[in-house]
């Protein structure tokens, strides 16, 4: 299994995500994209700001990819998360999985985003016209 994990301070390019998992032995690729929502609790969000404990976040991405690879027959896994300011509607996280069979790509991808949300030390702040607020992770 080939793994790519990264934090990115610049917009995530989908073509690069696809190229990183493209594999002539894969039966299917599943890509999960998290995008930022325009409203939160009735408030209009104008942008988001992501903060990460970078070395630990990268280590968690690596651990998640390695554990997934023990559960399913994966060819390639890519996990990229944004840091810094992210515009509404832009990609905050991309998880791509190329697997021997498509069912495994779907299962692994879903397990990875669930694990990332639980364990990766990353935080999101919503910016409003009149202030800002750290998002309570329990509502994710």
């Amino acid at each position: 299994m080939q793994e790519n994990v990264a934090l990115s301070a610049v917009p995530i390019q989908l073509s690069g995500i696809f190229e990183s998992v493209r594999d002539p032995g894969a039966g299917g690729i599943d890509i999960f994209l998290g995008t930022t929502r325009k409203t939160s609790g009735g408030k209009e969000v104008i942008a988001l700001e992501y903060e990460a404990y970078e070395p630990m976040a990268l280590q968690k991405f690596h651990e998640l990819a390695a554990e997934a690879s023990g559960k399913w027959r994966l060819r390639k896994v890519t996990i990229v998360h944004r840091t810094g300011r992210v515009a509404v509607g832009d990609i905050s996280v991309a998880i791509a999985v190329a697997a021997v069979h498509r069912a495994e790509a779907f299962e692994a991808c879903r397990w990875l985003i669930d694990g990332l949300k639980k364990y990766a030390p990353i935080w999101k702040k919503e910016l409003y016209r009149d202030g800002s607020e750290w998002v309570d992770g329990f509502t994710g």
Binding site: E51, Y53, V93, I122, W123, G137
Partner: protein, 81 residues
């Protein structure tokens, strides 16, 4: 013994610093460190029951023993994704 503590997100803002050093005495565990931190930074107290602690980038428990030079991080509830 001195450990380096990193703070993130709302905890960083509550404490007014992204990093500090804490002298834990001759020995100490994660629970003892949190006691000392909350004494130095009372704004952290309301968060104490909701945060996780990582020691050298691995999640730790209150009874995890600390060693000189450890990097400790206070991890408030995450909201990545």
């Amino acid at each position: 013994m001195t450990v380096r503590v990193r703070l993130f997100a709302n905890l960083r803002e509550a404490a007014g610093t992204a990093e500090c050093e804490v002298e834990t005495g001759s020995a100490g565990d994660v629970g003892r460190l949190l006691d000392l931190l909350c004494a130095d930074y009372p704004m952290l107290m309301p968060h104490r029951n909701y945060l996780r602690v990582a020691v050298n980038r691995v999640y730790a428990r209150p009874e995890t023993l600390l060693h000189e030079g450890d990097e400790v991080a206070l991890i408030p509830p995450t909201s990545g994704g």
